[in-house]
């Protein structure tokens, strides 16, 4: 091939550019455009997105083309003389009606998709999703399985230094939610505090989790895999740090996971009857504290003045233990201090309270056993 001629050169560089772009977008497709996702709805939404996008591109070519033409050819420096027309009812009607028809063409498929999206009837599985500053609680309503899922410790460890190289930084959790494929799953959303929004792009589910009201949405996942998402509604300080991880698995694996979760719960319940040493409680409490309390009260217990009280030297933490147990169990209405009795087990509660009293610069010297928490509930 000869590149001597100018058009040849143009073509060559154009094809070069295109191949670079294609290579780039093949490798980075996910980074440039909306995902097609793994549910029927996500695919429909993607198609609709692309239709509207291409309509915009075509209109854009028309408008910017006409503008570009004027700019190139109707310029004074080229000797262009200004015409004097400034009105045409016909043209005005045309460019009112044609866009209207285009809009109707968009509205028809959009209506169908929306109706489909909102149809949560006949679900196989129902899962309650509760937003809590800054984690998600999942309750499998049919199975009685419930757990809280928060940002993985690995992400927390590196966020103040350099996270490069940490795969799934900020998109990993301690306990992922496991869902079966090819089942209609209905999610029920609510919140314990402010408004959050549960969003997993591959499932095309984004729904606000409201305090005091229940919203719902649904998904049928067609491919097994790991799908990640984030909270999408500003919910305070750590809004950026409450990710979602979904493991979509086959039916058998799902059943097995449910069984494991139930066994785990039974084990935790049995542990509540045991007596623990101070050391064990403090060691366990440290983990619970860092995962659940440090976001507000600070990793060292210093709090944030004006917003979240310090644990170090706090009158409640260093005072009578009953008041301490009460605020952690029941929270304080009208403040960001949530009730933890629905989120943590008896052991974890006993551990974190004991930890606060005997660490973070405090040394009250007493401890509380899980059995006492059980009674206080």
């Amino acid at each position: 091939m000869t590149f001597d001629k100018l058009p040849g050169r143009w073509l060559a560089s154009l094809s070069g550019l295109i191949s670079v772009l294609v290579a780039f977008s093949a490798q980075a497709e996910y980074e440039l455009n909306m995902t097609q996702g793994v549910t029927p709805i996500s695919q429909e939404i993607y198609n609709l997105h692309m239709i509207v996008f291409w309509i915009c591109v075509v209109i854009g070519i028309g408008v910017f083309g006409a503008m570009g033409w004027s700019i190139l050819y109707h310029r004074k420096s080229k000797g262009a003389q200004a015409a004097n027309f400034h009105e045409s009812t016909t043209i005005e009607i045309v460019w009112t009606v044609v866009p209207l028809l285009i809009l109707i063409a968009i509205a028809i498929p959009a209506t169908a998709t929306l109706l489909n999206l909102e149809n949560t009837d006949n679900a196989d599985i129902e899962i309650q999703v509760t937003g809590i500053q800054w984690k998600w609680k999942y309750t499998y309503l049919d199975e009685g399985v419930t757990f809280v899922s928060s940002l993985a410790q690995e992400s927390r460890d590196v966020m103040n230094s350099d996270p490069t190289g940490h795969e799934n930084y900020l998109l990993d959790v301690d306990k992922p939610i496991v869902l079966p494929i090819n089942k209609k799953i209905r999610f029920l959303f609510n919140s314990d505090d402010v408004i959050h929004a549960w969003w997993v792009p591959e499932l095309a589910v984004k729904q606000d989790a409201l305090p005091g009201f229940i919203n719902d949405s649904w998904a049928i996942i067609e491919e097994p895999g790991v799908y990640r998402g984030q909270c999408a509604e500003l919910c305070g300080k750590d809004h950026g740090f409450m990710p979602i991880v979904v493991h979509a698995v086959g039916e058998d694996e799902y059943a097995q996971w449910i069984a494991e979760k139930k066994a785990e719960a039974a084990e935790v319940a049995a542990m509540a009857a045991q007596e623990f040493s101070m050391q064990d409680l403090i060691a366990q409490g440290e983990t619970v504290y860092q995962a659940n309390c440090a976001a507000c009260h600070g990793p060292t217990g210093a709090g944030i003045p004006g917003a979240f009280p310090a644990m170090t030297g706090s009158a409640i933490v260093t005072g009578p233990i009953d008041a301490h147990i009460d605020i952690v169990l029941n929270g304080k209405a009208g403040t960001a201090m949530a009730a933890y009795k629905g989120q943590l087990s008896d052991v974890d509660l006993a551990a974190v309270i004991t930890f606060e009293r005997n660490s973070l610069g405090n040394s009250v010297g007493d401890l509380v056993q899980p059995s006492a928490i059980k009674n206080a509930r």
Binding site: Y30, E31, N33, T35, E44, I45, H49, V52, G60, V63, M67, S70, I71, H74, R75, K76, S77, A80, A82, A83, N84, F85, H86, E87, S88, E92, W95, A110, L114, L117, E118, V158, M159, N160, D162, T164, H166, Y169, D193, V194, I195, A197, W199, P201, V205, Q207, D208, L210, P211, G212, G229, Q230, A232, E233, L234, G236, K237, G240, G306, G334
Partner: protein, 531 residues
């Protein structure tokens, strides 16, 4: 002819009516030109303050990880950046332009209510000082986003929120007074022969904007008052535990908020409709359809508020209605763009700085319009909502839209205001520098948004790193370009080639045809006759 008459008036009869000297001139002034200047300077200062906050945001987002600021402070930056840009930069800039231009465009000697005019301005510096002071209070400033959704802004907000509420009340009072003034001026003080359908489009769009302001600013005042009583006086408007509903907040807020975005773009339409004909040397195409399109946009803007709330769990019938009404707005908006293009068509175009900014506006505002149409399609919005795609969208309409039109207006009218031409070479550098950097800044945000990056997060996962770095570099460059603009502004005020009275070869309108550059302190003390 009438130019001379105006001159004569000033020198022979009103020579004692020149401006006072010193600081008190600005404090006590009731002159529309002085007040316009004050508003424009306030807007510029706020642009730089809000811009500095944007720089903090872009700095933190330059690379993954938390390097510069704490998440809580980051949230204060996004919140105050939004509030300051909306209420401190864009809106006062348009009010400043209205003050300067409406009287000299309609042949009036001043605004109808000059003392109130002084008050509307002087409230604002106090409001913004109060708002900014929250940053130094215990617990920090407001950190719940410029949309301040309850209950994050009520039960879960810092104490400084009460100062925020009071500041918003003051801004609202100022805006409503400004709007009343604009309406009273336009309806009562037009020169003989200036019928409504002969008014320049800037006057028309401001008249419509003023009605929008009067209709919705009280709604904003209402919603912050409800917050205040929820916070302190035991009501539960937004608290489900007391029988209220947090979603009610969003309905009330967006009933204000959606017309608000048109408040920030309608005057821009007026500016572009003045500039394009001048440099195409051809009358505006479809004047009356422009007026009707502006009015229909304004009406529709009251009926689409819940398109900001597609994920909040509305009944499906509501979502369908809001989707249809929303995408309908693209029809009158399209008409505007088509009319501008038709005005250029077969014109005799030149490309002085104001025209460059106007052309930039048309192209980039249209891009923002396209993403707006996409966002209006409810089921797809499930994926776009609260991502960087939305951030890209509204920055295209508000920065390359509203802000670009304000800058275009500056270059277009500053020779009239000061009697000095700006430096054409610097103006062009400013345009290209801003245009390239602003696209580096906001275009990649479409991509990260589509790929799943939520807005209002201080840190992000690694796959968004490249585009965020590009965006930050664009942001720093764009910020610097506006410091350069400050230099151009000061240079132009201080001196420059003397501007002719007509300023531009193709300029039309009373301000160019009947007033000298600069106009006397009191102009049109005798009303001109409009043919």
């Amino acid at each position: 002819m009438s130019t001379e008459i105006t001159h004569g008036d000033v020198h022979e009869e009103h020579h004692d009516h020149g401006p006072d000297k010193g600081l008190m001139r600005w404090v006590t002034t009731t002159n529309h030109k002085d007040i316009g200047t004050l508003y424009l300077w306030l807007a510029f200062i706020m642009l730089l303050v809000g811009g500095a906050m944007a720089m903090v945001i872009r700095l933190e987002l330059f690379q993954p990880g938390l390097q510069w600021v704490e998440p809580q402070f980051f949230n204060q930056m996004t919140t105050l950046h939004g509030l300051i840009m909306v209420f401190g930069a864009i809106m006062p800039a348009f009010v400043g332009l209205a003050n300067w231009l409406v009287p000299i465009m309609i042949g009036a000697p001043d605004m109808a209510l000059p003392r109130m005019n002084n008050w509307s301005f002087w409230i604002l510096p106090f409001a913004f000082t109060m708002l900014a002071s929250t940053l130094f209070m215990e617990g920090g400033g407001p950190a719940f986003g410029w949309t301040f959704y309850a209950p994050l802004s009520t039960t879960f907000a810092p104490d400084s929120t009460d100062f925020f509420i009071f500041a918003v009340h003051l801004m609202g009072i100022s805006s409503v007074m400004g709007a009343i003034n604009v309406i009273a001026t336009i309806l009562n003080m037009r020169a003989p022969g200036m019928t409504l359908m002969k008014m320049p489009l800037f006057v028309w769009t401001w008249l419509i904007t003023a009605y929008l302001l009067i209709a919705v600013m009280p709604v904003l005042a209402g919603v912050v008052t409800m917050m205040l009583t929820d916070r302190h006086f035991g009501t539960s408007f937004f608290d489900a535990a007391g029988g209220g509903d947090p979603v009610l907040f969003q309905h009330v807020f967006w009933f204000f908020g959606h017309p608000e975005v048109y408040i920030m773009i309608l005057p821009a339409f007026g500016i572009i409709s003045a500039i394009v004909p001048t440099f195409a040397r051809k009358p505006l195409f479809g004047y009356s359809s422009m007026v009707y399109a502006s009015a229909s946009i304004a009406l529709l803007s009251f009926m689409v508020w819940a398109h900001h709330m597609y994920t909040v769990g509305m009944p499906v019938a509501g979502e369908l209605y809001f989707m249809y009404a929303t995408i309908l707005i693209s029809v009158p908006t399209g008409v505007k763009v088509f009319n501008w293009v038709a005005t250029m068509w077969r014109g005799s175009m030149t490309f002085e700085t104001p025209m460059l900014w106007a052309l930039g506006f048309i192209i980039m505002f249209t891009i923002g319009g396209f993403s707006g149409l996409m966002l209006g399609v409810a089921p797809v919005d499930t994926q776009y909502h609260d991502t960087y795609f939305v951030v890209a969208h509204f920055h295209y309409v508000l920065v390359t839209g509203a802000l670009f039109s304000i800058i275009a207006a500056f270059y277009y009218w500053v020779p009239k205001w000061t009697g000095h031409m700006y430096d054409e070479r610097l103006g062009k550098i400013h345009f290209w520098w801003s245009t390239i950097s602003v696209n580096l800044l906001f275009f990649p945000q479409h991509f990260v948004g589509l790929a799943g990056m939520p807005r209002r997060i201080p840190d992000y996962s690694l796959q968004f790193a490249e585009f965020n770095a590009i965006s930050s570099i664009g942001g720093f460059a764009f910020g610097l370009a506006q410091v350069f603009f400050l230099y151009i502004v000061i240079k132009t005020i201080r001196g420059g080639v003397k501007a002719t009275d007509k300023v531009w070869e193709g300029a039309t309108g009373l301000e160019f045809e009947q007033l000298p550059s600069p106009p006397p302190y009191h102009s049109f003390t005798v009303a001109p006759q409009v043919k």
